[in-house]
Subunit: 127 residues, 5 copies
C-alpha cells in the first residue's frame, strides 16, 4: 500500500543552491532547517537561509551556531523551488515530508456518485 | 490537477504596509515572519509586527536581529488584511500557504446524496 | 460561501480580564500571545498569562519584553473562557482562529445514507 | 451537538504526580507546559518534566523560570499516563485538548454502504 | 475500538544508535527530543542529533543542557530509520506518535461505490 506521507531530507552545501521539484501531484512540507557540525565556525556566525520560488527570493530565517542551531518551518511547496545559504563552515540540513495529493479527492467520490445517479436515471427510464 | 495548497511569500518593506487579499474561497495560512539581511541594523533593534484586520490593529509579535530573527505563526486570514512594520534597516519576509476551500465540501456530497434520494423517490413513485 | 476558518484576535488590557464566548458550534483555536508596544516597561518584566476555564485558573505561559515578547499556543476552547494578565505597561494581544464545526459531519452523511436505505426498504416493499 | 474537541488543563504540584486517563474512545493532545508563579524560586532552577507511560519513564523537557518558563508539545495519549516534576517552588500547568474519536469513522460509512448493497441484493432477489 | 493515534517514546543512550521500524501501514510522527538528566554534564555541551534514513545521514538539530534542553520536530517516518547522538553524559528522549494508515481510505469507499453501481447494473439488467 502506498503511504500518504514520506520523510524528506536534504543536505545543502555552502554556495551550492539546491533545486527541489516536488513532482506531479505531490506537495513538499518543509518542517525544519539545522546547521551541520563544523569545527571551524565562529559561534557568532549569522546564516541567513534563502528560498527562490517563482522568481522571487525570500529570506526563510537566520541560523547561528550559538543562538539558533535549528529553525522550525510550516511551509509547503507545490512546485519547483531552490534552497540556498552562504555558511562557509558547513552544510545546512533541511527536513520535512512529501505528501501525495490523492487525485480528484473528494471530487472522485462526487463524480462516482453522479455516475451512480445517472445509472439510476437509466434504471428509472427502463422500469 | 489543481493542488489544494500553494506556497505564499511576500516581502514587506519598512513604512510600506502591504495589503493582502486571499481571494474568493481561499484561506491564507500565515506561518512565519523573518527579518531580511541588513548591514546597518543594530542587533538590539526591536521590530514589532502589526496586522490590520477588520479595522483592528494588533501586534503579531516582535522581531530583533540579535534575539528573534524569525517568528512562527499559526494564523489564518479569510479576507483582506494588512501587514506592516517600522524596521528602518530592511525588509520583513512573511511566508505561509494558500489553501483553496473546496466549494461545498462536504455539503456537495450531502446535496448529491439528497438528490439521489429524491431520484429514488421518483423511482418509487414510478414503479 | 461560508469559510470554515476565520481570523480571530483581541487586545487584553492590564487588569481588564476579557471573557470570550466562541459561540454555538464554534471552536476557538488560540495560536499566540504577544506583548504590545510600551515605552515605560522594564525589559525584565515578567508577565504571566492566565486563563479561567470552568472555574479553574491556569497559567498559560509567561511573557517578558526582553526575553519572550511572544508565545505560541496550540489550544482550543469550545466554551466560555477568560484571558487575563497583570502587565502594567501595556496590552497583550491574543490571536488565533475560529472554526465552525460542521453540524453533524460526518454523522449527517451517515444519517442521510440510513434515510436512503430506509427509502430503499420502502421501495422493496412496494415493488 | 457534541463538539469534537475540548480544552483540557491541569495543575501538577511538586511531588504530586498526576495520573491522567483520557477515557474510552478519547485521545488527549498535550500541547504545552508552563511554570506557575513563584515568589521563592531561583530563576536558574532547572525543572525536568517526566511522563510515565506503559511502565516507561521519559523526560518530556526541562523548564526554568529564567530561560524556559514554558514549553510546547505535540504529543497524544490514548491511554493512562502520569505527569510529574520536582520543582519545589510551585506548580507546573499542562494544557491541551481532548478529542473524541468518532466511532468507526470512516468504517461506519463503509459498513452502512455494504448494508445498503446487501439491501439491494435483497431487492434484486425480490424483483 | 482501535484508536488512530498512539503515544510513542524512546530513550536513546549515548553511542547506542536506535533503529526504529514503524511497521506495516504505520507512520511515525516524530515530535520532539529532550536531554535527560545528568549530573556530570557541562551546561555548554553541544549535542547534535542524527537520523539515518535510506542511507543518508542528516543532522536533526543540536541540543545543549544550557541553551536547548529540548527541540520540537514535525517529521514523519514511514519506514526504518535510526536515531543517534554522542552526548557522553546522558540519554536523549525522543517522543511522538504512531498513526495507523487506514487501508485504502478513501479508495475503499470508492471501490465499494463502484461495486454498488455494478450491483445496480445487474439490477437494471434483471428488471
Amino acid at each position: 500500500m502506498a503511504l500518504p506521507m514520506e520523510f524528506w531530507g536534504v543536505e545543502v552545501k555552502a554556495g551550492q543552491p539546491l533545486k527541489v521539484v516536488p513532482g506531479e501531484a505531490k506537495i513538499l512540507h518543509l518542517s525544519q532547517a539545522s546547521l551541520g557540525e563544523s569545527k571551524n565556525s565562529k559561534s557568532s556566525d549569522s546564516v541567513p537561509l534563502f528560498v527562490n520560488f517563482d522568481g522571487q527570493k525570500l529570506v526563510l530565517g537566520t541560523l547561528s551556531p550559538d543562538k539558533f542551531p535549528q529553525l522550525a518551518f510550516d511551509l509547503v511547496f507545490e512546485k519547483e523551488f531552490e534552497l540556498s545559504h552562504n555558511w562557509k563552515h558547513g552544510s545546512v540540513f533541511f527536513c520535512g515530508y512529501m505528501t501525495v495529493v490523492q487525485e480528484g479527492y473528494p471530487f472522485a467520490q462526487i463524480y462516482i456518485l453522479m455516475e451512480f445517479i445517472h445509472q439510476l436515471d437509466i434504471l428509472c427510464a427502463w422500469t
